[in-house]
Symmetry: C2
Subunit: 357 residues, 2 copies
DNA sequence: TTTAGCACTCTCAAGAAGAGAGTGCTAATT
DNA sequence: AATTAGCACTCTCTTCTTGAGAGTGCTAAA
């Protein structure tokens, strides 16, 4: 049912998609012939368009208007026409150059990735920080603040940091806290949640209390679906006509701010069909009411099963997929590289030990 | 020039502002009399309105339309009419209750504050993380990753954390790194940038290299104008008619994404006139072309000169100031409390030492 | 199989007309 | 002296009409 299109029909579908993504206007037969210097008459094009409409790849907003791609039309285009293309060399260079500017500055990685992605796709971007499914304890720091309150800073071997305020049963001086932290740091170094929970070290009551909170914190990290979420380029999308006119599309922006919805969306990433490792969710695919007029292009990065994140782009269904998909893929590759170079070194060793034993 | 208004004129100005903020429609004399059961004829109201227009507090979109407040009108309203009002008890309770839900979870503080602020002001919110002008060294952690690359995690006494990737001249094993970190932690504990720079501890070349980067990192933190920026509630503002219609207002959203512009805006906070500790920037006040149709309500929180942050709200000029201003003020009070309880304890001691010596 | 030709459909822009909301001014009223 | 009723006038906004334009599908010829 998918492949019955003739070469010429594919060409025409591709041109309609292309022209529509550029102009946001329904495309008529005459326009197409003139614009792309087709060696065909308008009548022929009209016949082919009628066929494509029959198949469900195009539709007419009203009886005597041009054609617009349907969801299926875009999907056919994405899977059968632009599939294997790679990002052209110069674009790759620009991106990697921009990205490696902030090589040192870990805190800038994710926002920068989001910014670059937004800029190059001219859409809104989503990037989640890399997130490991298993944390290894590295170091805890206890900072006395006021009375019974203590600020705990917990560092994992991958470099992830989490902070928590804890309230002790009674005030404890900084020296005592530091001593407790030192002990925990010695006995827990490199251990996972399970390892610590299975063989709890000997400890006094203060240390036990803290250990409980450490475990709780590590657990919470592991339970989370993804790391912190970074967004950028919302304004790109807001200036598209779809978002100015239809309330439908505007509602989709809401999904962007509501982190819980976004989490949900990202969580389903792995289930769908991919295009060369990149997920393309067109018009919500029936599942997402809010995404009716929109598309989302997502990819996972990192080291599968160990430390991963998601990144992607959100925009109107009328999106330049031919450019967006390779951009997302390339960005995912860049981040994967970064993660395996800088964050997985230790984890890898750890993992090797784990699987050996 | 400001106080020549009669009581009645103030009343009418207030009602025009109120009605316009509610309906977004120009208000006419008849509407006003009917809606607020004024004991005046429409003609009288018309005369007063003509006077207010003369003074520059109201204007007419066109000859035979109702009146709309001008920038000056809003400003008069804000400074002379709603000034001293506090947030009503129940609203305060709701907010503090929402906020203290996440008392423990330090990482949630800022995003939660932004979310609450957005929700209660029904506008877009801005919150910057607290930022201290002077950092005190607490702890450094060095994590070997791959080859010559090392991930450095630096913790300050206030609990601020910063990360950096550094590339060494030659590969160094984790043991060596840990040892170096231990030494630095002993000699630098509690010191400021200047103190460390003035009396560099004896150290081997590896430690020296790292110390340089530590100082660089601390310095960078101190140089920054503000901590991380958290935004929320953009969708609130996007559904306002100003943003749907006029391209002017829509351009202002751009300012929200461009962190550098936002930094600039926040930096100027302290210069302007305040309304009970809260800055109200109406229509960009001539300075901000992008904010022509918009207003920003900002407040600083924290401990002045020690550790501070900024928070506020961004929305159309037609904003319910009477509610927004107290909300922002209350939120700033809450965060100030939080900061002095949990993050300034150590710094305070430190500071006391500093000023004593 | 392709194409020229043509009648037909539907939208969109422009213009016209009338309703509605609001104003300013004048003269009367309190 | 301040307030108000009355009224002519102005300007926008909605509704309706009309014509141009773009595009289609179908039929018959190439």
């Amino acid at each position: 049912m998918m492949n019955e299109l003739t070469e010429r029909q594919r060409l025409i579908l591709a041109l309609v998609v292309r022209h529509y993504t550029e102009t946001a206007q329904p495309v008529g037969s005459a326009r197409l012939v003139e614009r792309y210097k087709l060696d065909l008459s308008t009548a022929t094009v009209r016949n082919e368009m009628a066929a494509l409409t029959e198949y469900g790849y195009l539709r007419q907003p009203h009886t005597s208007a041009g054609r617009v791609p349907t969801e299926e039309g875009y999907r056919y285009f994405v899977t059968h026409v632009v599939y294997p293309s790679d990002l052209p060399e110069p674009a790759r260079d620009t991106i990697s150059h921009q990205f490696y500017q902030a090589r040192q500055d870990v805190e800038q990685w994710m926002p920068l990735a989001a910014s670059i992605l937004a800029q190059h796709s001219r859409a809104a971007s989503i990037v989640t920080a890399p997130h490991s499914e298993r944390s290894h304890y590295k170091h805890v720091e206890l900072i006395s603040t006021q009375g019974r309150q203590v600020l705990m800073v917990l560092v994992m071997t991958g470099g992830e940091v989490s902070q928590q305020i804890l309230t002790l049963a009674e005030p404890v001086v900084q020296e005592r806290l530091s001593a407790a932290a030192d002990r925990l740091n010695q006995v827990c170094l490199g251990k996972t949640t399970e390892e610590i929970a299975a063989f709890p070290p000997r400890a006094d009551s203060l240390e036990k209390d803290i250990l409980t909170l450490v475990l709780q914190d590590m657990n919470r990290g592991e339970q989370r679906v993804s790391g912190e979420i970074f967004l950028d380029g919302l304004t790109n999308v807001l200036s598209e006509p779809e978002f100015l006119e239809s309330g439908d599309a505007r509602r989709a922006v809401h999904l962007f701010e509501e982190r819980s919805l976004l989490q949900d969306l990202l969580a389903r990433t792995t289930n769908n069909a991919t295009v060369g490792g990149v997920q393309v969710l067109i018009g919500g695919e029936g599942k997402w009411e809010e995404l009716k007029q929109c598309s989302v292009v997502l990819a996972r990065y990192g080291i599968p099963g160990l430390i991963t994140g998601t990144l992607g782009v959100f925009g109107p269904m009328r999106m330049p997929y031919a450019r967006t998909i390779p951009t997302v893929r390339y960005m995912a590759d860049l981040l994967s590289e970064l993660v395996s170079e800088t964050m997985a070194g230790d984890d890898n060793e750890q993992e090797r030990k784990d699987t050996r034993g």
